[in-house]
């Protein structure tokens, strides 16, 4: 919080000063107790700069609407204040478009100012804050007319000057520090508050839809005439909604110096780490993970030193303490690293890394994590960068369907190039690039879509007019239609651009329908349709996402499609900044079939089920393989997921050991289950099979869709890596270059299990292979296509006992059977957390990085408290800071 300045005059102001939280001596009392709201904030001036002629808009709402002091000699700037003592004007450098657009839409406003008038004789009214075009033409003006405050707000029922106005009583203006707030709600109820109390109220009916779009914002004077206001500004804020009486009171209580910029608030919210903690979590922990934990982890503990945990790391190893906080020279860790003795293999630390390590030790070796999880450092910070997200093919199809009611699935699947998987998902934004084929496809698809639409009926939803005039009605139609199609309000630039198409159509003798058709065709190809455009620019800190951006984030996370009208309404009302209201929206949306479809997409991506369609095992080895089985396996897993997550609403961890599955008669036979023919005799129909009496099966890992990842040979390596990466989020280094990775075939007397055990016994291989191959031991009885056997083709007896080492754990846990392994996995918090990571990654469309780890952990804990179900996990993701905030990039 900034310190306030001693600007309150002595004497007669003493009483007032004692009641004004913004006044000298009182500011600390308000510190942090009453935050200012940012919901609906459009522009904010806190006069923080002391020099130059620019007053910066610090709302964080783009584009900034900065103001310029026309005559700096008539103004005096001090930190947090701007005193006007002569003739000048503080004028926005551009049209106040963001304010005008927002208020035209909302019909609501709050104009807030902390000011101290220089005298009570200023008249005209003298302009304190004005959005106008001259002395008789305005959208609004907050002014001082002698000893009264006077506010003019233009509606369709007032004149162009915003008259009749609302005034306070004569004598209400004092030359004291004053908190003046004007609010108007959509019904037309307007109020003026002074120092937190409502003191004037009236009804100003009509709408703000006719507000002039070209007006600029100004302080201290009118544009073309002399309506000079004199006094001192401490804060001016404008909102697109009417703050409630308690909010106004809270702002008053918070004082003129209350932290207001969302960037600051958000920054505090997320960046709660001290510099020392930040150093550890962003630099030292990854450094240790990359260079030391391969040997000094809880399981290996070389030299009895475990650097993965705070307690063990500080305790030291067989050579005693290795970390002496504050003293690098006495720390064995430093000595070993500096001399190059550690790490013993691979690249030594770079000079820069060494410097960091030394700085950290000397600064007290702050260790702010209980455990260092190498998995969270898999990707560097760059991978967490925000990329604009192109709609994936399923998202495009859903967006078209939801927006205009046309099913384009068949054509989109045919024409659009498929999205390519990256980092485990095909919705990874950095990989969603575009090629000529996309552009051609979007153009062609747009043509097909409008060809199938009842364009006139669609247009009628937004406007009764069928006029081709581009001045008013067509612009209104474009604006309303665009808000739905482009998932948020349009800027003037866009309205103008799209309306222009109507002009061209008209000039070629076309009609209204044709104009709307082409406009929709253009919108369907515009960047705001094809991409999810969000503001990414700012000061580099974390900002809340805007209302409409949030609406899209919610809808694409939950539905994989665009916001519906209710979400857009909530965005317009700034409700989506409130976590509880967001939660309520998610609850509502989970009832919609789109939510289930989206979840199925997630599972398909996570387990890469699309590969099953092309599964072609060696026909000599598996002569009974039916090509339709691959698709059956895919359907089995999806139906199984739907049952667990949606029908039974069970915790997602149950996916690992739920004792039932779904199969076609064909697949049931393949699995050697007692075939239950479908009641209608349809051989393609899935039937639910209870597996409580089939100990070998039950859970995802026992389904053909997952078992086939090991290929024809049922590779222990591939299956083990799948469990390690996709269920346990473990890390393992790549095999050394040049290593012969040709699978060793089983033979009589040598089963795959035995081959794996030999590898693990080999010291050159064991470091890595011991981490993942045992994870597949429990699956040995399933062959490459998921059929259960007690013996392999060479007559070797197969086993399903083994042991599992959860990443980070010190000791492995033994299991006697495949079923026990499934239970261990289902009960493991690590597996639950991994599902959270996967789902969060899918929701955000990017790999998760170390910076995200704490938030993901929070999501996981919150979801677990909610029962660990799909719904609770999804809700936790949507209401997390990862979804509600965005890290901005500097210019």
């Amino acid at each position: 919080m900034r310190k306030s300045h001693g600007l309150v005059a002595a004497g007669c102001l003493a009483i007032l000063a004692s009641t004004l939280p913004g006044a000298e001596g009182d500011s600390e009392a308000s510190n942090g107790t009453a935050a200012r709201t940012v919901a609906g904030l459009l522009a904010l001036y806190d006069f923080g700069s002391t020099d130059g002629d620019i007053v910066t808009d610090r709302s964080g709402v783009r584009p900034p609407l900065n103001l310029q002091i026309s005559n700096p000699q008539a103004a005096r700037r001090t930190k947090g204040a701007l005193e006007i003592h002569g003739k000048t004007q503080i004028l926005s450098t551009q049209q106040a478009t963001k304010i005008i657009q927002a208020v035209r839409r909302s019909g609501e406003i709050t104009i807030e100012a902390w000011v101290r008038p220089s005298d009570t004789g200023l008249s005209g009214p003298a302009r304190i804050v004005t959005l106008s075009g001259g002395s008789s033409e305005r959208n609004f003006t907050l002014g001082q007319d002698g000893a009264k405050y006077d506010v003019r707000f233009r509606t369709t029922k007032t004149n162009a000057n915003g008259i009749p106005s609302l005034s306070t009583d004569n004598g209400s203006v004092k030359t004291d520090l004053t908190h003046v707030v004007y609010t108007r709600d959509r019904s037309g109820l307007t109020r003026i508050y002074l120092n937190g109390q409502s003191i004037a109220e009236t009804k100003v009916v009509g709408s703000s839809s006719k507000w002039t779009r070209s007006h600029k914002l100004a302080l201290a004077n009118e544009f073309n005439s002399d309506r000079q206001w004199k006094g001192t500004y401490y804060l001016v804020a404008i909102y697109s909604r009417d703050l409630s009486p308690p909010e106004v009171k809270r702002h008053f209580d918070a004082g003129r110096d209350a932290p207001a910029a969302p960037a600051e608030m958000a920054g505090r919210h997320l960046a709660q780490l001290s510099p020392g903690e930040q150093l550890f979590e962003t630099k030292i922990a990854p450094l240790l993970a990359r260079n030391c934990l391969e040997c000094h982890n809880s399981a290996s503990k070389k030299g009895r030193l475990d650097l993965s945990r705070k307690a063990t790391a500080l305790a030291g190893g067989e050579s005693g303490k290795v970390i002496v906080p504050g003293k690098s020279t006495e720390s064995l860790l430093w000595e070993q690293v500096e001399t190059g003795d550690m790490p013993p293999e691979g690249q030594p630390l770079t000079p820069a890394e060494k410097t960091l390590l030394k700085q950290w030790l000397d600064a007290g070796a702050i260790w702010s994590l209980d455990t260092i999880d190498p998995a969270i450092y898999t990707h560097d910070e760059k991978a967490g960068r925000t990329w604009v997200r192109r709609l994936t093919v399923p998202e495009y199809i859903e967006t078209v369907r939801s927006s205009v009611g046309v099913d384009i699935l068949k054509e989109a699947r045919e024409i659009l190039p498929p999205d390519v998987r990256a980092d485990g998902f095909s919705n990874t934004a950095y990989n969603l690039n575009v090629d000529l084929k996309h552009v051609e496809a979007y153009s062609r698809l747009a043509e097909i879509v409008v060809g199938r639409m009842d364009v006139l009926a669609f247009a009628k939803r937004f406007s009764k007019s069928r006029s081709l005039s581009t001045d008013a009605t067509m612009r209104d139609l474009v604006e309303a239609m665009g808000t739905l199609l482009l998932r948020g309000p349009l800027e003037e630039r866009e309205i103008t651009n799209f309306s222009g198409i109507a002009t061209v159509v008209a000039s070629t003798g076309g009609d209204f329908k044709e104009a709307v058709t082409y406009i929709i065709e253009a919108m369907l190809q515009s960047p705001r349709f094809i991409y999810r455009i969000e503001n990414q620019r700012g000061d580099g800190s974390v900002w809340p996402v805007s209302d409409f951006e949030m609406a899209s984030r919610i809808s694409y996370i939950v539905w994989g499609g665009p916001p519906d009208r209710e979400l857009l309404r909530a965005a317009e009302s700034s409700e989506l900044q409130d976590r509880q209201l967001v939660e309520a929206q998610v609850r509502r949306m989970l009832e919609d079939p789109r939510a289930m479809r989206r979840s199925v997409q997630f599972v398909g991506e996570w387990l890469n089920l699309d590969r099953l369609v092309n599964l072609r095992p060696n026909s000599k080895r598996f002569p009974n393989w039916d090509a339709a089985l691959g698709a059956d396996m895919r359907r089995e897993t999806l139906a199984f997921f739907e049952d667990v997550a949606w029908k039974q609403k069970r915790p997602l961890a149950d996916l690992l050991n739920a004792q039932f599955t779904y199969a076609t008669p064909r697949l049931a036979q393949h699995y050697d289950l007692e075939v239950q023919p479908a009641s209608d005799g349809n051989s393609e129909r899935l039937t639910r099979y209870d597996l409580s009496s089939v100990p070998a099966r039950g859970g995802l890992l026992t389904q053909g869709s997952v078992l086939t990842v090991g290929g024809d040979d049922a590779s222990m390596v591939t299956r083990g890596l799948f469990v390690l990466h996709d269920l346990l989020r473990g890390t393992v280094k790549d095999p050394p270059p040049g290593l012969d990775t040709t699978p060793v075939p089983a033979k009589p007397g040598l089963s795959q299990r035995r081959i794996a055990e030999q590898r693990i016994a080999n010291t050159a291989c064991s470091g890595c292979h011991s981490k993942f191959e045992p994870l597949a031991f429990g699956l040995e009885k399933f062959d490459g296509i998921g059929v259960f056997h007690e013996q392999d083709e060479h007559g070797n007896t197969l086993r399903d006992n083994g042991e599992i080492l959860f990443p980070g754990a010190a000791k492995s846990i033994k299991y006697k059977s495949s079923a026990e392994l499934m239970d261990l996995l289902a009960d493991s918090d690590r597996v639950g957390a991994s599902i959270t990571w996967k789902m969060t990654q899918f929701a955000l469309g990017r790999p998760l990085v170390a910076q995200d780890a704490k938030q993901v952990q929070k999501i996981h804990e919150l979801a677990a408290r909610g029962g660990g179900t799909y719904a609770s996990l999804l809700t936790s993701i949507v209401t997390s800071d990862l979804a509600m905030m965005t890290r901005t990039q500097t210019e």
Partner: protein, 475 residues
Amino acid sequence: MKKTRINRRTMLKGLGTATIGLPLLEEMTLSSVAGKAKAEVPIRAFNIFFGLGIPAPLQTEGFQGVLEPLKSLGDKLLIMRQVDQVRCDEKGINAHYDGASGAFTAEPPDGEARAGGPSIDQVIRKTHYPNGLPVGMVPTLIGGTFFRRSRVGRYVHSYNMDGTVAATIQEKPRDVFDRVFGTVSLAGGDKDFRRRRLKRSVLDSVVDDYRFYTGANSPLGAASKARIADHLDRIREFEQRAFSLKSKDSNAPDFPPRSNVPHGGPADPGGQGIDITLEELTSEWRLVADLYALSIQLDRVRFGSLTFLAAGERIRLTGDYEYGGKKLWSFDDAAQHNASGDKGCSHEWWHKFNEKKKNEQLRAHAHMKMREVAYFLHRLDDAESREPNGKTILENSLITISTESGDGRHNDVKRELSGVFHAITGANGRFKTGQIMDVDAEGVDVYNTMLDAMGVSHRLGPVEREMQPVDGIRT
């Protein structure tokens, strides 16, 4: 002025210095083209429109005032004053639109995209070419440089017999070029061309939108911006493939570059007006005018219309205006109005017209418009335009020049739609030239007299109305 003038001679010499790349088409190198092979002069009719009009009192000053730039063409023009278009008034709509629709049709508008009747050029075309124009010609070419576009009548000035627009307006130099010299105009009909035009306008809007997200005001960070820039590149590639000309000549250059002035929606942001320099305006217009004139010289076009600034045009013009080697004025509308948006546009000078005052700004604008209209007319009067009968295309054709009103103050419809400036050429000796004449007649009668002289029996205006010939204009 940056541009290089395009005329037939430079086309024939090779196109290296032309501002836009023009493919060297076969017919441009022929010593004679269809129409020119005959000694007979073809019937041609064109309507030239300029926006906002000339207040009647200023017309009385003749070539001493704002009409000065027409003086050099005075011998070849009949300037008509006191032409009344009051019958074109449509209740509830201001005179910009009514008057503009009435120009060349003498009818009030019929809705937003139709005129109340045909325009004179089209009536003449229908009479003289009842079976269509010779193969390969563009039936009607409509072009122009304009920005205000809320209604079609503001800028389109050729209408079919049923009042619908006679052709798609070409508003960019490359559009005019494409329409006249592109293979589509030879192979395909107007319908194909229209569809292409509309498709391109959709793509133009899309390109504009993508461009925004790659520009300085983009909300995107560097990586995302690069992704959108990639997309934009692909769209341009797509555009090249989908819309580039397939010229007859293998050496033909690529599709001409984009125009530098706003078109489509951005040209008319909700009636708020645009900022434009005199150089931008006249460079664009002169290129369109050159291409239009070239089309006539090459006998690819015999009918149509050309618009220099729309009715009720809203621009905020800046730049020094010179005429005859002297600086006459510095345009700076917004500053001189001390206003922004629509209130800062040149249009406001017409609202503020006051006979008792100097009206310097209005005069400068009107003078400039006459200079630019004269530019086009001169292009049809040069050595390249000399025809077998010894006269120039300008002299041989019927060219009608008009505008929307005789007063722009919107407070008296009668006054507004009276005294609407008109000028015509001699049409190969059919009309008097070299005069400034107070005709004191209705537009409908003037137009019908012109039609009569052109050997056209169809009459504009209400069927039952008896024509009152304005014989004074005929030779």
